[in-house]
Symmetry: C2
Amino acid sequence: MNFKIKNRYDYNCLKNFSKKRGLKSSQKRMLIIDYFLKQDKHYSVDELYNHIKNKIPGIGYSTVYRTLKLLAECGIASERHFEKGFTRFEPIHKEEHHDHLICTKCSAIIEFTNQEIEKIQRKIARNFRFFVSDHKLEIYGLCSRCAKKEKNQ
Amino acid sequence: MNFKIKNRYDYNCLKNFSKKRGLKSSQKRMLIIDYFLKQDKHYSVDELYNHIKNKIPGIGYSTVYRTLKLLAECGIASERHFEKGFTRFEPIHKEEHHDHLICTKCSAIIEFTNQEIEKIQRKIARNFRFFVSDHKLEIYGLCSRCAKKEKNQ
DNA sequence: CTCATTGCAAACGATTTGCATACCG
DNA sequence: CGGTATGCAAATCGTTTGCAATGAG
């Protein structure tokens, strides 16, 4: 098949995971993964499904759902529970951890990285003899655009 | 009625909010709020309902649910979406913001506060011209007890 | 051929709501 | 009395799963 995952790391992850689990490959799944990784956004299953159903005719909701879960399981994507009552998936870029600014008005999501915070978090964890596996920093508020609109009213 | 909310601040919040919305007070609601604030834990609706149904005979799930939503709306409690697919509510103590260490094994939740982090967050927000209203820092991993167990196996 | 993948519809669990009744002011 | 609060059951929403048909190795 011609559908290659751009990132070598992700590709190996998936390959190893598939082997371990005895999974087969499939055209549809690869197309979804390809699209998801290329877009590099914070998709809910619903959003991704709606974006993709034109591009992959006859695709089912469960397939998108199952593919995202799969990516989460093999560590290529991570599940996030921002504000509302549903899950968003985002590609993980192993190189560096990032955190989020989330606009409560327009739902824009801005990513940022900050080494100081990483450092402090490690310090805090040490204090509590806590063995860190992951962390999430989410800053909620208004993005510059929405803040401006708010002011002008 | 004899059921007073200990914290003056919370009490005023609720009073103002009720006035604005034309709400009446009710014995059951006050009992729930009282219990919730006194316990000061991270309850899911389900947990709180189960703890409280012995203490308040005939109490309904929706009442607990509606009361927690109400507290969230008037700013006395905040809704958190930790790991799993349900919501937890925690009392907000206006005095100082705190964050969480969450054990992925036993679900223990440890609270902590750290001024440095607050400072850095404000700095980051400024960089993005982001108007912060709230933030959440969650560190996931193993608490000391679970980490020890893990090691011994 | 064997077994994984898929689409569909139906199950599920958490949350939310409609409605008749109970309660508050 | 007029309108809010409550309990119950039923609706809703996102997520999961069973199953028969399809696809991959």
